[in-house]
């Protein structure tokens, strides 16, 4: 136990509601500092959230692939009361070519962000042993 209830309870919850792939995603975020999906060697589709199989053809022949290049801002908002962000921080959906729509925190403000703008991915540390990803407008990175 770290003494930080949010960290401890989130890690406990992820043991119940997570998967082996979500654990591996966390490892890659923490160590490699990359956001990854899984790529099917058979049907060539890339999936996020990652899985240890392909949800299109059910093969186990998947490999980890870094994603995020070419992302654009598809939608964004904020939330008055949320667990890890609150107004004016922004949560959004990014459109990643070859992957599709992915939820993500967005760096920026509701007033300055624009639909369709180019974004780049960065990894953020939430607590020890727990990371997330965030997309930032390209001109700010």
């Amino acid at each position: 136990m770290s003494g930080n209830p949010l960290q401890d309870f989130t890690l406990q919850a992820l043991k119940i509601y997570g998967t082996s792939a979500s654990s591996e995603l966390q490892r890659r975020l923490a160590i490699d500092r990359t956001l990854c999906g899984t790529h099917c060697e058979t049907c060539r589709k890339t999936t996020f959230p990652p899985r240890d199989f392909c949800p299109s053809c059910f093969t186990n022949e998947v490999s980890w692939q870094e994603i995020g290049d070419g992302a654009t801002l598809y939608a964004f908002t904020s939330q008055n009361r949320a667990l890890r962000f609150s107004h004016p921080e922004v949560i959004g959906v990014v459109d990643i070519p070859g992957v599709g729509l992915v939820m993500s925190p967005i760096a920026g403000t509701l007033e300055t962000l624009k639909l369709g703008q180019a974004l780049a991915c960065e990894v953020i540390d939430l607590h020890e042993g727990l990371c997330a990803w965030r997309f930032c407008p390209v001109e700010n990175t």
Binding site: T10, A13, L25, T77, L83, R84, G100, M103, A132
Partner: protein, 396 residues
């Protein structure tokens, strides 16, 4: 395999309220017994009990189905508890329909209920544990780390894209809240009945821009029960028989934000509606009264379009022109809908069925839709990741 025709023979609902005035088991027991009485059946004639979890938002209840069956004293040939988000109650009804249609049960009782979550905000660790576990359960082990609260932001982004893609204004979307409140003002069971204006909506507290407080369904409490049986068992009260004529269900392989597809047009709604209309042998223009699962202002309009009541992008004009209210093409959400009736999510779809059936019986608790003959009910889970659509028709 031939199947039996189906009808709703009895209904009972509590008013939708912030909290239930009685313990949950008392509320469920009361509506269950009232619905059986309303159907003109004896308790011994009920041979199926189909349930939602006692509360989707509140405390978990281990072996609730057995608990309620024991409490009611019912012997059954089917005792089933169903859960799938906002569609839960309609899927419990579907299980009951299947049992009666196949002859496995002769008369099935469906009971749905929900209560607000009682978060222990006085004890920090207990509160954080509850929120962390709920977040992980709701969004899964990958997206849980983003720390989103209730899924209001997800609907807010649909609202934003809807305005962007179809050139709809904030004022036009706000009118959907005003219209739902006009309907609720006439309905004695609705939670929110004070009339509001577009300015009231847009001046209410922002929750997740562009969604304001008066554009979001409240988290409410309520209990509702129905009896499903075959028409010959339902004719003794002298009511017209309301037959379930069509059913459609479609689930996109996504949960909240779909990796592929749109967040302003929902495949689950269009496909479930297509199936239900085909099975019912009707078209959207034939529907007189509908209850749809519009939990946010823009969602209400998107549903009008995706269910086929108007063209894509025309929902705001359809509403503003009075085509979705009394005297229009179809009366949608005469109960006040999710925005004003109140939203006990686990029970909401059964309240929708109750409203439509009572309208078709000519027994509307609020304003009666003139000459209502054909009805439609829609429910969904996630953000329209899955939908259920049912059509009903009054038989002469």
């Amino acid at each position: 395999m031939s199947t039996n025709p189906l009808t709703i023979a009895g209904i009972s609902t509590t008013p939708v309220t912030r909290d239930l005035p009685t313990p949950l088991l008392d509320a469920c027991s009361t509506v269950a017994r009232s619905a059986v009485q309303d159907a003109g059946l004896a308790p011994s004639e009920i041979d199926g009990l189909f349930l939602t979890p006692a509360s989707m938002s509140g405390e978990p209840w281990l072996m609730y189905a057995a608990n309620l069956a024991e409490h009611l004293g019912l012997t059954t040939k089917g005792l089933v508890l169903v859960e799938n988000g906002g569609a839960t109650a309609l899927l419990a009804l579907r299980s009951a329909m299947d049992a009666v249609a196949l002859g496995r049960c002769k008369a099935a009782l469906v009971v749905a209920s929900d209560t607000r979550p009682l978060l222990d905000t006085n004890h920090f660790e207990s509160f954080i544990r509850n929120v962390a576990f709920t977040t992980a359960a709701l969004y899964g082990g990958v997206n849980a780390v983003l720390g989103c609260g209730p899924p209001i932001p997800i609907y807010a982004m649909s609202h934003q894209r809807y305005m962007h893609e179809f050139g709809v204004t904030e004022e036009e979307i706000a009118l959907s809240s005003v219209r739902m409140r006009e309907h609720a003002a006439l309905h004695p069971m609705a939670q929110f009945r004070e009339r509001i204006s577009v300015a009231d909506v847009l001046n209410s507290k922002p929750l997740s821009p562009p969604i304001h407080l008066l554009q979001a369904a409240s988290i409410s409490s309520g209990a509702c029960a129905l009896v499903v049986t075959t028409p010959e068992r339902a004719t003794e009260k002298g009511r017209p028989v309301v037959e379930i004529t069509g059913y459609g269900e479609h689930h996109h392989p996504s949960h909240f934000i779909p990796r592929s597809g749109s967040i302003t047009q929902f495949e689950s709604v269009t496909e479930a509606a297509k199936s239900a209309f085909a099975e019912g042998g009707i078209a959207p223009k034939d529907v007189d009264v509908a209850e749809v699962y519009g939990v946010f202002g823009a969602t209400e309009l998107i549903l009008y379009e995706d269910l086929g009541f108007c063209s894509k992008g025309e929902g705001a004009h359809f509403l503003a022109d009075g085509r979705s209210t009394f005297g229009g093409d179809v009366v949608i959400n005469p109960s006040g809908g999710r925005l004003s009736m109140g939203h006990p999510a686990g029970a909401t779809p059964l309240y929708e069925v109750a409203e439509v059936v009572r309208q078709l019986w000519g027994e509307a608790p609020g304003k009666q839709v003139d000459d209502a003959t054909v009805g439609l009910v829609h429910a969904e889970h996630g953000m329209m990741n899955g939908s259920v659509v049912m059509t009903l028709e009054k038989r002469s």
